[in-house]
């Protein structure tokens, strides 16, 4: 897939390469602009250097109903500093110069709708994003929008929940490109001690019905969790735990946060690389 930066790899190429090496992808989530854009700029290359395979870049939103308190508070803090979408795009474009792994934007459809779908897709593509996760856009609403996202040269990542029926799973898999975001639990984002007992069988079942890579998110925060998913899922998505680490180093500046982020990447990968 063509992209604005020659060096950047596409999402399908990334998963193809990982499959050949029989490796699981690690996809950290960062809240853009938290605590500031300089941290976002420093963290993206740090994640790549520490072995992250893709990065999920969260666009702060005033009403994130799928998020637990840690991500909510990070979003609120970023917005209190009057963060604008245009600044997120500019920062990602800047970071792109030194980052070749795919960047995926996680953004509420509320923001995309108001910003204007075509304008959002154009700006996201220009900034160097490879795909879009729209956490509040399930089918059938997603249907016409997925076509537009694809036409813009971006992958569309839809969510599948444990409660999603088999017919809907097929429909969502058909509409997804890049990867499918499988929710480990019915609930909101946040760290959990243990992954659900039936997670592995659920993911295997899902993978048997689609060739689109499946990444698992919600609740993951330990190297053991990543190890548990190796050979089962194509990727592990870790969000809240990264934001919490950023919070712990809040007063130490962008480089210290980026360093802590990189260290945590290595820790999560320690049992699988």
């Amino acid at each position: 897939m063509p992209s604005t930066t020659a060096a950047s790899r596409s999402i399908p190429d990334t998963f193809r390469a990982l499959r050949e090496k029989k490796q699981i992808a690690l996809m950290p989530f960062i809240a853009a602009g938290f605590p500031d854009l300089a941290t976002t700029l420093a963290s993206l290359p740090a994640i790549e250097q520490a072995g992250g395979s893709l990065v999920e870049v969260g666009f702060p939103f005033s009403d994130p109903i799928a998020d637990g308190p840690v991500i909510q508070e990070a979003f609120t803090a970023a917005l209190e500093k009057k963060l604008k979408m245009a600044e997120v795009f500019a920062t990602v474009a800047e970071a792109r110069k030194s980052v070749s792994i795919p960047l995926v934007s996680m953004v509420s459809y509320s923001i995309v709708f108001r910003y204007g779908l075509d304008r959002f897709l154009k700006d996201a593509k220009a900034a160097g994003f490879s795909g879009l996760i729209l956490p509040d856009l399930p089918p059938p609403e997603a249907e016409s929008i997925c076509d537009k996202v694809r036409s813009a040269g971006l992958d569309t990542v839809l969510l599948i929940a444990p409660t999603t029926t088999p017919e809907r799973r097929k429909e969502i898999a058909r509409l997804s490109s890049g990867f499918i975001y499988y929710l480990s639990i019915s609930g909101i984002t946040g760290e959990r001690d243990k992954l659900p007992a039936d997670l592995e069988s659920n993911v295997r079942q899902l993978k048997s019905m689609t060739d689109v890579p499946v990444c698992v998110g919600f609740g993951i925060n330990k190297a053991e969790h990543v190890k548990q998913l190796e050979g089962v899922a194509d990727g592990a998505i870790v969000g809240t735990a990264f934001v919490r680490r950023a919070r712990e180093h809040l007063d130490e500046g962008p480089d210290a946060i980026a360093k802590a982020t990189a260290q945590y990447c290595k820790e999560l990968l320690s049992l699988v690389r």
Partner: protein
Amino acid sequence: MSSVATAAKSASPLPDANGHFGQFGGVFVPETLVGAIRQLETEYTRAKNDPEFKREFDYYLREFVGRPSRFYFAQRLTETLGGAKIYLKREDLNHTGAHKINNTIGQALLTKRMCKKRVIAETGAGQHGVATATAAALFGLKCDVYMGAEDVRRQNLNVFRMKLMGANVIEVHSGSKTLKDATNEAMRDWMGSVEHTHYIIGSVVGPHPFPMIVRDFQSMIGTETRAQCLEIEGRLPDYVVACVGGGSNAAGIFASFAGDKSVKLVGVEAGGLGTQLGQHAATLCKGEPGVLHGCLTYVLQDDDGQTAIVHSASAGLDYPGVGPEHSYWKDSGRVEYHSITDDEALEGFQLLAQTEGILPALESAHAIAQVKKLAPKLGKDQIIVINLSGRGDKDCQEVARLLNRS
């Protein structure tokens, strides 16, 4: 009027199968909730066609809520304003003091049918929270009510009423600490509790099928009003006026008249302190289409799609979104929407108190204030119906504070 008007029938051909009212409505929620939403839609469709459900709902509306509510000729208000004849649809006389109870009884019965044991709700003014706590106590359901910390402060009496009926009130400190944040928190709860919990949404907002279900469960207001007006006046009213926050009392009374071209429908929003974003909650008058709390509808947002801070003296109108059917009615021109400021609502509150001996809820006082402008312009042969959606006892402290200020 002796019998309770049919409650659980769809009052309109809309929404379509995907929950759309024209371009508005729909389902914009995390996939986790889609299963629960589909289950609710299926169960509601079954209930609607089940005579036993209708019989049970009508029984509680009649014997517990006290329906049908009165259709009262406000003689001194009419004389004072010197124009059209004004009737009040007395939803304030319902058990718990507002129209909210109609919907919570209906949804609590649906909860029982789905074999769920727990209900959750969001509340702004506390009226919906009280109505949910009441229905939960009536049917033996566990009840958690989310309420913004700011609203807990403004509506302390309602917090106490909910607790007295065994509900647990959870103060919400995230975001702007008001109704929208309480709604977010209730949705988050529901994401993790869908298997055993039903979310009793309090207005005609949220993802499909909520706007349809809540409208239908409030539609007896309109069907009763229609029959009462025909019986007393021998004709339909010229105007029906109702306040609009999320818009459930207005949808409930408008739905029955939407097909009557001769009846003008007027929705009244909260104009708050001024016209700048952040000073009001006049979503339809001053907002633009956007997505909030699971549906596409008019919203108050900034250019980036971040929900705006809203303000109204009335906690029940203090909401940055509005029901998608109202957005449809606005764009189709079927309903006219106006806004009334805090000060005008306060005047409306006192006007009704002094001319009729009725303290209206501050929400309903917005409709009174609109009629104060409208009635004098109309002839004495014209008829206006005001949906008096709630009583004002809950607002007395707030009214005292506002009156002392000026």
